[in-house]
């Protein structure tokens, strides 16, 4: 039993990290909005999904215009990435303007319901457009980097099997790390980052210190949504097929990751995302082996949520969060 688990460990790690990186970047979107507005933007999963569709649509557009053959794969990848990020970023600002800002003085519950409304709206709009264009909302996109690398982990330790890693997985990991480092730098080292942290700490006082609160909030939504949309492109490239409902489960997992890491804490979200990805992959690969076949891979989600519950019972502020004594 143990030998079987160890044997596949390198592969499980690789797959878990790729999935975790996706969760982590999406979790950042939740955590940023929560950190500043103290409300959960439940439409964030759908923003991620929209990003996946916009990216795929852009790729199809490139191909039908005949540009795809002419440019190197990485240019196309980068362009599509930028288009999806810009689109979802602007969309995020629009959503905030229409659905959240008019409700900012209302009780938290009201904006929460508004967010759920937006998420259903986005699902159905994307579904409608995809259905109209392709006759089927399940869309299989163009994979740019479908190649496969073999990592000879068996030469590191003979007990391990070799792991296979898609070229695209490397891109997902690299992009996620770059996005996270960039964001960390932005929030901690730039003027706008200072403004963001100031608004997070105390909106009224910040506005007295001549910080344009509305603009900072709009910027937060832009960055969070752009990150979500960009991750959507990574996801579509990684798994090939997308549908308008991928945002829901993934959004839930990413939200869990944000809470696990300590919601409002950007580094916590990254850590939580990677952790959830790894746990989920380990559970789905090994649950059957550990329980002797009575629980199978289909119970993987339960395991992630169970761990969340346990963490929240013993450390309610999350793994990297600080206990809130006063509103910071």
């Amino acid at each position: 039993m143990i030998s079987e688990i160890i044997q596949t460990l390198p592969q499980v790690l690789v797959d878990g990290l790729a999935l975790g990186a996706v969760y982590a970047v999406v979790a950042i979107g939740y955590t940023m909005v929560y950190g500043i507005l103290e409300f959960i933007n439940f439409a964030h999963g759908e923003i991620f999904m929209t990003g996946a569709f916009v990216g795929t649509a852009a790729l199809f557009l490139f191909r039908s215009a005949g540009w795809l053959g002419g440019m190197p794969g990485w240019t196309a990848y980068l362009l599509v990435f930028m288009i999806a990020m810009l689109f979802t970023g602007v969309m995020g600002v629009g959503i905030e303007r229409v659905a959240y800002r008019p409700l900012r003085k209302a009780p938290k519950l009201i904006s929460f319901i508004s967010a759920i409304g937006v998420s259903f709206l986005l699902q159905d709009i994307v579904r409608f457009i995809a259905d109209l264009r392709t006759g089927n909302f399940l869309v299989t996109g163009i994979t740019l980097y479908g190649g496969n690398l073999k990592v000879a982990t068996s030469s590191v330790w003979h007990v391990f099997d070799d792991a296979f890693i898609k070229t695209n997985t490397v891109i997902v990991l690299a992009a996620a790390v770059l996005l996270m480092i960039g964001l960390d730098f932005f929030v901690n080292r730039t003027k706008w980052g200072v403004a963001m942290r100031a608004v997070a700490q105390d909106r009224e006082t910040a506005s007295l210190m001549s910080v344009n609160v509305n603009r900072v909030i709009a910027l937060t939504f832009f960055i969070g949504s752009a990150l979500g949309g960009g991750t959507g492109v990574l996801f579509a490239q990684q798994y090939g097929t997308i549908d308008p409902y991928i945002g829901f489960t993934l959004g839930m997992k990413a939200f869990t990751a944000a809470v696990l890491g300590g919601i409002g804490n950007i580094r916590g979200a990254m850590f939580g995302g990677l952790l959830i990805g790894l746990i989920e992959m380990f559970a789905s690969a090994n649950l059957g082996i550990i329980t002797g076949g009575s629980f199978g891979a289909e119970y993987k989600d339960v395991v992630s949520f169970l761990i969340l519950i346990v963490v929240l019972i013993f450390k309610p502020e999350g793994l990297l969060g600080r206990a809130v004594k006063e509103k910071v």
Partner: protein, 403 residues
């Protein structure tokens, strides 16, 4: 402030308008069928035949094939019914592959007194609850695709099917796996649906009976996109054969991700991966994938018919198209006979139901049909195909006759 409120209001209005437009167009879809051939404006008594299949969502390729096959058969015979003094109409419903939607549609169909029969469904999980409603209203239903044993095992008077059952398909697949492909160590993946689990279970029993070992039996969730977890288990078990009970969305991704992980073992599935969707999803990773199917490759066995279909709808027939065409003809023959028995007057639903069940030796484009007392087709065969490369349909390997 007023301006800002106005702006929000304007944007909400735009969204609402967009949604209304969406509803409007889907509403149009719904009535499109009713318009078929109804344009004469004559006062002939109307006979409607409904169809239920997923026209949107994950299985819409197969669902649309069922609708179009039925539509083709019905339109060909509209004049024949006009001479009998009836206005024959086709009403397609979209069950979205969802049992709740299927049952809701079934209630609508039951309430429409001019509907005499139903063609459908695709998914057994939708057929089973919906057929309870049909039984209540005595509306006969003929399914060209649902294979779960429970569909006919309940011995409902209203339920017939023209394709083979899962407890025949599973063993036929097992025979291929063990005897033809020489599998000894088999890994089974299933999607936890009435169809997928039923098929996987009957396959499992049969391969064990043939002396092969089952080294893993795992479930997945419909709608998932990442199957690396299950496939990592496959890696550790090193099976020489993988069986998948489930639909082509997940099947295509599993094949693709398995090949990307370097799993080269042959993969086999049931009739639900008998779809060009497999090619779209798995692409050039679609190698060494066998599938049992309850449908013949119509483009080879009846090319004339397939050409006619392509010409009419500007798209290639899926295999279910031909079975939907045959099922519709079985329905129409039954209705016609019921009209005759009723002295040329509009028959009741009960009369249509009993006439359809009494079908014997009907020769269609894809299959011969005689119903037994449960509503199963005595002549239903199982076919084994194999994909090797991104081309649909796969190559026909063998035909298995009913015992």
């Amino acid at each position: 402030m007023k301006v800002k409120k106005g702006l929000s209001l304007a944007m909400v209005t735009v969204i609402a308008a967009a949604m209304l437009a969406a509803c409007g167009s889907s509403g149009k879809n719904g009535t499109e069928g009713a318009g078929n051939g109804g344009g004469s404006g004559s006062s002939l008594p109307v006979i409607k035949i409904a169809s239920q299949s997923p026209l949107s969502g994950g299985s819409s390729i197969q669902g649309e094939a069922i609708k179009l096959g039925g539509q083709m058969a019905l339109e060909e015979r509209q004049d024949e019914f006009k001479q009998l003094g009836f206005d024959l109409q086709f009403v397609p419903y979209d069950d979205q592959g969802d049992s709740k939607k299927g049952v809701a549609n079934a209630e609508l169909i039951g309430a429409d007194k001019s509907v005499l029969a139903v063609l459908g469904h695709l998914n057994s999980g939708v057929t089973i609850p919906s057929s309870v409603v049909y039984e209540k209203y005595s509306i006969p239903m003929v399914t060209p695709a649902s294979t779960a044993t429970e569909v006919t095992d309940r011995k409902l008077k209203a339920v017939d099917r023209i394709v083979a059952r899962d407890d025949f398909q599973g063993p036929a697949g097992a025979e291929y796996a063990v005897k033809t492909a020489g599998a000894k160590n088999i890994f089974i993946i299933q999607d936890q649906t009435a169809y997928g689990k039923g098929l996987a279970d009957s396959f499992q029993t049969a391969v064990k009976g043939l002396g092969a070992t089952v080294s893993g039996y795992e479930g997945i969730t419909v709608g998932d996109k990442d199957f690396s977890g299950v496939l990592n288990q496959v890696l550790s078990k090193k099976p020489d054969f993988i069986f998948f009970g489930g639909m082509y969305n997940e099947g295509g991704l599993i094949v693709k991700q398995a090949r990307e992980k370097g799993i080269t073992a042959p993969i086999m599935g049931g009739d639900a991966i008998d779809s060009s969707g497999m090619v779209d999803i798995a692409g050039d990773k679609l190698t060494d994938v066998a599938y049992s199917s309850v449908s013949t490759d119509i483009t080879k066995s009846n090319k004339d018919w397939a050409d006619k279909y392509t010409q009419k709808f500007k798209k290639n027939p899926e295999n279910y198209s031909a079975y939907a065409y045959d099922a519709m003809n079985v329905i129409l023959d039954g209705v016609k006979k019921a009209i005759g028995d009723n002295g040329g007057k509009l028959p009741s639903r009960e009369q249509a139901r009993d006439a359809i069940r009494a079908t014997t030796d009907f020769q269609g484009v894809a299959t011969k049909v005689s119903f037994d007392d449960k509503g199963d087709n005595k002549f239903a065969k199982v076919f084994i195909y194999k994909f090797d490369g991104p081309k649909y349909p796969g190559e026909l390997i063998s035909e298995v006759d009913p015992k």
